[in-house]
Symmetry: none
Amino acid sequence: MSTRPAGHKAIIEAAREEFSEQGYGATSIRDIAKRAGVSLSALYYYYKGKQDLLVAILEEGLDAYFDACGTALEAAGGDPAEQLEALVTATVQFRIEHPVKSSIVQTEGRSLEPEHLARYRKNEERGTQQFREVIERGIADGVFLTPHPDDARRAVIAMCNAIAQWYRTDGEVTPDELVERYVSLALTVVEYRPRSVRRAARG
Amino acid sequence: MSTRPAGHKAIIEAAREEFSEQGYGATSIRDIAKRAGVSLSALYYYYKGKQDLLVAILEEGLDAYFDACGTALEAAGGDPAEQLEALVTATVQFRIEHPVKSSIVQTEGRSLEPEHLARYRKNEERGTQQFREVIERGIADGVFLTPHPDDARRAVIAMCNAIAQWYRTDGEVTPDELVERYVSLALTVVEYRPRSVRRAARG
Amino acid sequence: MSTRPAGHKAIIEAAREEFSEQGYGATSIRDIAKRAGVSLSALYYYYKGKQDLLVAILEEGLDAYFDACGTALEAAGGDPAEQLEALVTATVQFRIEHPVKSSIVQTEGRSLEPEHLARYRKNEERGTQQFREVIERGIADGVFLTPHPDDARRAVIAMCNAIAQWYRTDGEVTPDELVERYVSLALTVVEYRPRSVRRAARG
Amino acid sequence: MSTRPAGHKAIIEAAREEFSEQGYGATSIRDIAKRAGVSLSALYYYYKGKQDLLVAILEEGLDAYFDACGTALEAAGGDPAEQLEALVTATVQFRIEHPVKSSIVQTEGRSLEPEHLARYRKNEERGTQQFREVIERGIADGVFLTPHPDDARRAVIAMCNAIAQWYRTDGEVTPDELVERYVSLALTVVEYRPRSVRRAARG
DNA sequence: GATGAATGAGCTTTCATTCAT
DNA sequence: TATGAATGAAAGCTCATTCAT
């Protein structure tokens, strides 16, 4: 959690939008200051520089996403299917509600200077790990039948992430509908077969 | 097909790699010249500028991909499942064999100046359209059961595209294996049920 | 009147001299910065660019000249001969005292980009207009006998303007003498015949 | 007289027009080649470089003007008034017929590099000298009464030179009319009084 | 005679950043 | 807290010119 002085939200917000629209490399610090409506010097008063802004934005982006996932997982039971549902729901909702944060986190990691990159990549990895654990447990429990858990995981994450790039809140599909569809898609991808069904089938 | 004088391949190649690694905005034209081993002026002799390089790279990237899809589709029969298989195979192979071309086409469209953007976006749309047609025909034929063809399509495309970002040829999975798995995943996502099976099930 | 922040006079002055000596096109912005003794960036802090400098210089040049003419005309009576004398005096003095401003205004209008050119040419026209009005009134009053007022006007203006290119303050002729001679020349050119003389001649 | 190989007139012509419109410093050698419709290399085949083109143009410009003056003076008698008439006529006609040549000669001398400048300025001086001699002879003969021959000379030259900048062949005044007016103006400026008139006045 | 290819130097401009106040 | 002023470095690009063919 950052402990920065208040009153600089406009700056972060502006930077996020500029980075998202043009990319870190193509964004000038003046563009950000102008968009935030503050002077160039004010920006430097709050942040050490352009890279510092990026670090703050990326960290906050990951944190916010992981918070959402954590909350969802806690609310879900111990069942792998329920947990996958929780993760997909949290991810889809986050991509819908925070498309800018999402796209930056997905694209601008490469713009980190070496000293920040390693830590960031490691942190980022937690997202993969969450899905990996749930899927592998589902397989161990015999409810996810996919023979290729890594590919299934990557597919699920990729399709959820892509939402940030095309979903528009003024479109035809409501967020809830979309969540439902993607949960369903994800369960299809991991080839989910509920125990009860199989038991019933046997009888 | 470009009709540029020969001997400038090194330039395009260098530009592609720099754009892919750092992003268009963060790449300097000097970086490209240096990487290509030519003088700055030589670069300007062949290309009008940085934007011109990007345009050439993006166009070629799309063309090459569409060529691969076209060839694959022609070789496939009229059956929607076979055609989806062909498209997925072509896409996965292209992402594996041309990860740099793939990632640029996926990320740097936004770096096009307005005058080139519209045409590019339209061209890009052809990729979506290929998948859309095949999937819808599969649904019409009753072999793809997914109730949400748009989501299925986006999922299939997203998961195939993501390959460019993580696949390494020196990894555990061979290209052919990966193709097979993704074809299988795609058919799962569209909920493919072959006619013969359903007929048998009915009997 | 310009409302720029103070302390950038050295820049304008340097630009004026460089433009005057080498021409706008041949002057590099580095030359100007060096001559002004400021950094290249300082120059851009005060002016948007090379063209902006030219615009400022040309506008100020015209303004200063028109101010001098205006003051002289106000001090003069309503008599056309006196007014022509005032205009020629103001012009000659301005060419002597501000040869650099004068030569730039005379030569570098063509270096204006289209968006500034029209306005400038119109403003410039006021100079011609001042002379035209005075000469035509003198003709109407019957004191200027020249049958070709346009040619006379152009001749007077051209000869006054040329002074900026050859007059040296360390030469033989004092400014006051030169003014007197050019006033006399101008009155000759418009074929001035004072009323009193003609009346006397008649008697 | 230049002894250059034929077929390069288009180049000189193009250079003249570019230099005249934009100034030497602002003209690129590529602009010239494009306007002449030849390749960049062709230009370098005929001329050593940009400066060489300027030298050729300026020399030819002065030569052509002096030729015209020489011819006119030869045709005129020995009378100073007739000779001044001849010079003004030649000058006005040249400014009318060759406005581009005229304007370059008047403005671009400063663009000569030191090694060519001295010779050019000296050559240029011949123009002044022609007028000076005629006017001084007129004064010695007692037909030009101006008390300031240098100012008169400069005035005459300046007003004639200015013609190149404003005269348009499609305007109201014919060349012949203009010549007549400027001859008349020039004689006014030098305060010409024919002998016969004065003799008559005395009687 | 003529040209396509190539270059190094220089161009105008914008960059991220610092600092005195 | 906050900013106007200033800077060195580097950006994209154009320049006049050369040279092998």
